[in-house]
């Protein structure tokens, strides 16, 4: 190899030297970069000290909290110095992408490493966590007067549906911090022009979609999440399944291929193939919200929190043209919305002092005051709408904050939260991860036409039987 001349070598060395120099420069710059501007907001702790507990009882403890990158957690992180000042507990937040947070939490929980004192948790995972004894029941924390001032914290004010979703076999395991419900979001201007009103039944929903649908002009009647995933198509389908009268359990057996299930899936497939953009089978809700914000959709059913994206003037072309309504009724007359919240459980592998510190953190985060401070009182552009308490939803400040969202926003979401939730929305069993994944795969196979609804669900049933029997 004659090419390796001395010249090339010299060049190589110079390059190495340059790299080393760059490394050195970066290292020097590091402290500057890493020092985040922590403008200590000397926020008032008075509203918290009204609670008749000793906030300093776990002073000196250090806890780590895993959350996902989302503005509602960013707001919490931003005001966390108040918590540290109040309790003397040090909190370290770690933002983990939503695709990885369960993995990392479970690696931590199953190896009992106690890396995370608590992590933002998907309610469907509590049965799994509980059967492995990875998390502590929280009832004794709630009932311990030294740890919780019941009058001040007022646990019953937190939405019952969310508390139920965070319970398993009668015991609570986590406190909801933020959550959402699915509602209809529609273009009031388009509906008005055609003399339509928000659908009250699934049939009307399709009729509305048919009336609005005009692919030639890039307007589609509706869209529902179609992407495969326990939190995507398996987030929409369970509502349909329940509204068509489906039951997840026959005795202890999980049944997913009942006639009602097939009807529900058929409805889903039919709606998506007739009135949705062709790409919808690959869409998760941000894609749907993006499409709606560009004026390409007449209606969609998804989380109420997506409204904040539609209100972003940098992106949206539909500001002021939106209205909201509850889920349309199914053939059985039932409305069924989603139950979703990010709750905070307590890692069972912590020591006692850390557990106390974690509980203090959780009650601080879920308290009415912190909820308000991360919402309308928050000093920043993104204000949370996933508040965990009915009293806050009804407060004039919250209503005032959301008045620009369009007609009926608070009313539709709040009524859904209080009346349309159903704790059996999805099958709550420890094997949910496998069931959710299997169902998501089957639903997508039906949506893309790989299989018909019956075949897809029969296939899913066979796999679920195999998973559960063994």
């Amino acid at each position: 190899m004659k090419e390796r001349t001395t010249k090339a070598m010299a060049q190589g060395r110079r390059r190495m030297l340059k790299q080393t120099a760059a490394l050195g420069a970066a290292a020097v710059a590091a402290p500057y970069v890493l020092r985040s501007a922590h403008a200590q907001s000397n926020a008032d702790v008075a509203p918290y000290t009204q609670a008749k507990i000793d906030w300093k009882q776990a002073q000196g403890a250090e806890i780590a909290v895993a959350v996902i990158p989302a503005s509602y957690f960013d707001n919490l992180i931003a005001i966390a110095p108040t918590f540290e000042a109040l309790t003397g507990v040090k909190v370290r937040f770690e933002k983990v992408p939503p695709g990885q947070i369960r993995q990392k939490a479970m690696l931590d929980l199953s190896s009992k490493t106690a890396t995370y004192a608590t992590s933002a948790t998907d309610p469907m995972y509590y049965p799994l966590y509980v059967s492995n004894k990875w998390i502590d029941p929280i009832d004794h924390y709630l009932n311990d007067n030294a740890l919780t001032d019941k009058a001040w914290f007022d646990n019953d004010d937190i939405f019952k549906a969310w508390r139920d979703a965070n319970s398993y076999e009668g015991k609570p395991y986590a406190v909801p911090y933020d959550g959402e419900v699915t509602i209809q979001v529609y273009r009031k201007d388009l509906y008005d022009a055609k003399g339509l009103k928000a659908a009250d039944t699934l049939d009307e929903f399709l009729k509305n979609a048919a009336a609005i649908n005009d692919p030639a002009n890039r307007v589609y009647g509706m869209a529902l999440r179609g992407f495969a995933g326990a939190g995507q198509n398996m987030y929409i389908y369970p509502s349909l399944f329940r509204e068509f009268g489906g039951q997840w359990f026959k005795g202890r057996k999980v049944v997913v291929d009942s006639p009602e299930a097939v009807k529900a899936l058929d409805w889903y497939v039919n709606a998506e193939s007739k009135y949705a953009p062709p790409a919808v089978r690959n869409w998760n809700w941000p894609d749907i919200a993006d499409a709606f914000s560009q004026g390409t959709l007449g209606c969609y059913i998804d989380a109420h929190s997506s409204a904040s994206v539609l209100m972003n003037p940098e992106k949206s072309k539909v500001i002021g043209k939106i209205a909201y309504a509850r889920w349309p009724k199914g053939p059985t007359g039932k409305r069924c919305t989603s139950i979703w919240n990010w709750g905070f459980p307590i890692n069972a592998a912590l020591n006692d002092k850390q557990k106390k510190a974690t509980w203090l953190f959780i009650t601080w985060a879920a308290s009415a005051e912190t909820q308000a401070r991360t919402s309308w009182k928050f000093n920043g552009p993104a204000k949370r709408t996933g508040l965990n308490r009915a009293s806050l939803w009804k407060s004039p400040d919250f209503v005032a904050m959301t008045k620009d969202y369009g007609p009926n926003f608070v009313d539709a979401a709040l009524t859904s939260l209080e009346q349309d939730t159903d704790v059996d929305w999805r099958p709550r069993v420890p094997q949910w991860p496998a069931i959710g994944d299997t169902m998501a795969t089957a639903i997508q196979a039906a949506l893309v036409g790989q299989k018909n609804a019956k075949q897809a669900l029969d296939g899913a049933q066979a796999r679920i039987d195999q998973v559960l029997k063994s």
């Binding site: 479970m106 799994l128 492995n132 790409a279 496998a434 893309v448 790989q450």
Partner: protein
């Protein structure tokens, strides 16, 4: 030997120990969603594969994926190299362009293709097909197209590798052989078939070997582009093992799948290296 030792120790500690752990896990029944069933399973996990259609499906996809991407890379790479060799100027800039896909992280490549190239409506491919008057296709949403798409993504990223190897190999061939052949009035095809091909065979062989190994262990790009979907349409063995371990939390079975993948990769490369040495 003292020189080899430090590296050897590091290697053994960092790779063999986890391998033993993996092998052991594959013999156990560990399903986090059913902790009450945990225990020693012996060959149970392996026996379970026989009756698991999803396993056979993923194996079949692995075969299709590996063979098609390797063949495409070699054919395209070789064809392009032959073409480019005749271009008097601008080979340099082509080489630079070819480097581009190679240096990118597969996970970024997968993401790129999903969001910017293959996305319906706003994706590059859709813009082009519609400009040509063709209908819009759902490249990653349709099961058949999705498999094609992930093959295309892999081929896009790694054909430059084959191309560069072939180009270098071709440019190092002695020109006098071709001169002689031309004087002998051999046709272009004959010159290629009887002179060029045998001369660059070693290059082709090494490309095939290296690309096969990489294709067998492909993960990040598919993971970012389709996650194995839609349904199981792009779920090669690696993805299936991942989903079993991390979505379904059946760690024992996932480990067994990973062991099978390792065995296949080792066997294939062993056979290939053998064949190469024998020649």
């Amino acid at each position: 030997m003292a020189l080899f030792l430090p590296a050897l120790v590091v290697l053994i500690v960092t790779t063999s120990a986890p391998l033993v752990y993996l092998a052991w896990t594959s013999l156990e029944r560990i399903d986090l969603s059913m902790p009450w069933l945990s225990g020693f399973a012996g060959a149970g996990n392996y026996l379970q594969m026989g009756a698991d259609p999803r396993f056979w499906h993923s194996l079949w996809l692995t075969l299709i994926y590996t063979v098609s991407t390797v063949v495409l890379q070699v054919l395209l790479g070789l064809g392009l190299a032959l073409l480019v060799l005749r271009i008097p100027k601008g080979q340099g800039i082509l080489r630079v362009a070819a480097i581009l896909p190679i240096v990118l992280a597969p996970v970024v490549v997968g993401l790129f293709w999903r969001t910017l190239v293959l996305a319906p409506d706003v994706g590059l491919v859709d813009v082009v097909t519609r400009a040509l008057g063709l209908p819009s296709y759902n490249w990653l949403g349709d099961p058949k197209l999705a498999l094609l798409s992930v093959i295309a993504i892999h081929t896009w990223q790694w054909t430059p590798f084959a191309f560069l190897v072939m180009l270098a190999s071709l440019s190092s061939l002695p020109p006098d052989v071709f001169e002689a052949a031309r004087i002998d009035r051999a046709s272009a095809w004959q010159r290629f078939r009887y002179i060029t091909l045998p001369l660059i065979r070693p290059a082709i062989v090494i490309v095939v070997i290296m690309r096969t190994m990489i294709a067998l262990s492909a993960f990040a790009a598919i993971f970012a582009a389709t996650g194995g979907g839609p349904g199981t349409a792009t779920e090669i063995l690696n993805l299936y093992a991942y989903r079993t371990s991390f979505s379904e939390l059946n760690l024992g079975y996932g480990a067994a799948l990973a062991m099978v993948l390792l065995a296949i990769t080792l066997a294939v490369s062993f056979v290939m290296f053998r064949a190469r040495r024998a020649r």
